[in-house]
Amino acid sequence: MRLKQFIVLPLIIILSSCQKETSPTRPLFLFNTTVNITYYQNVNSDIQNQVKGILSNISALGDYYNPHSGITNLYNFNHSTSELEVSHYLYELLQTAEAYNSLSYLSSYFNVKLGNLKEAWQEALDDNHVLDSQSISNLLDEASATSITYKQEEFKFYVFKVGNASIDLGGIIKGYALKKVEEIYQNNNIINYSISAGSSSIILGKKNTSSGLFNIGFIDYPKMYLSLKECAVSTSSIFAQDKVVDGVTYSHILNPVTGEATSKWDLVTVINDDPCFGDVLSTSFMNMPIEEIQSMEENYSHSFKVLVMSNNKVEYASEGLNIKYR
């Protein structure tokens, strides 16, 4: 009897350590980046296709650079001088972005009306020079003078932009799409998954290990990582699409107050349970002083955790955020 136990136990331990992991799908090209979906449980193809469909749809609706046949998207909206009928997603996305824009804590740090300024910066940096202050000032004024009106008639949604600024939903759209996907997973009891949209917007279920934790590394800080599950992880950093001109690093993230393409911090990661709000927070915190970030944490009852990196070191980490090193 003892002998049987002695043989069977190690075999059980060895066999149970073999994990079944569903391979990640091929990367999807959406939101001007790649989206990787990994399931650690069996998920039927209908749900997988529904998830891909919703991500593709929202990506097309929020495309800043190109029109898409058969739909009215952000490109059409930015180039229209009249009222447009749009889908419920685009309507809700614009309203959500504006609602975050008008939050008193974020009003100076999150602005979706800076599309023209972003393009002007991109053009200048492509030519290896810095955008002049007069152009910045003009484009910030243009953004302030632009507004959106919304109209809903039964199941039809209409939007109209007054002013010349372009709306850029880059700081919110991936989080918004992932929030919609999370709803599908919740409704279908899917718990073992991860989705990363670029390296900036991530949602995590549970991994198929006893702890269920995922190791989340940092591209530019390879020794540092976090162990997380069942949360959203939103990251903004100057390292993505950065450009150095005269020794100064410029990035795609604009400071909405100064209009400069430089940020106060090198990287901000926000961990919470809402990928949409997480994206907005990580974008906003890139230029927010630490005292204001702490104040926001208190006002939101510490419902999110923040990691701020600067000059290769941790500038601020929320209480309870367990940063690990290897």
Binding site: P10, P27, D126, G217, P222, V233, S237, A240, Q241
Partner: protein
């Protein structure tokens, strides 16, 4: 009689342990831990797989969604050296040597990732 049974039991136990240990050692020895492979995708299709241990200054022209993306592979590293895209973010990434840093040319729907080696994180952010 009892002693003989015990001796047989011990022989069986040690034989099984020896088999288990030999299997684990064999798995560990045959596992590929240092080989890095670059995988190049275009519009979600794998178009090229390059063994970076064997790469010797090779250039590949990848037909992207809107134009060509010219990839240069050298021993242990890969990078985009030229691309028909507006901002050249993919070129600006430079050469990548590790599994945690993909190269994306969104305009041409080209994605390059390095796999293999000792990947320790499930997901990378940045």
């Amino acid at each position: 009689m009892k002693k003989k049974t015990l001796r047989n039991d011990l022989i069986l136990i040690f034989s099984l342990l020896a088999i288990i240990i030999a299997s684990i050692v064999a798995i560990l020895l045959t596992r590929k831990t240092s080989g890095l492979t670059a995988k190049i995708y275009c519009q979600e299709t794998l178009v090229k797989s390059i063994d970076l241990d064997k790469a010797k200054d090779e250039k590949y022209v990848i037909k992207g969604l809107h134009g060509d993306v010219i990839v240069h592979a050298k021993k242990g590293a890969i990078g985009v050296i030229e691309a028909d895209c507006p901002h050249h973010d993919c070129v600006n990434v430079g050469y990548v040597y590790t599994t945690n840093r993909p190269i994306v040319c969104a305009y041409n729907a080209v994605y390059i990732e390095i796999v293999g080696g000792t990947t320790v994180n499930d997901i990378e952010v940045g």
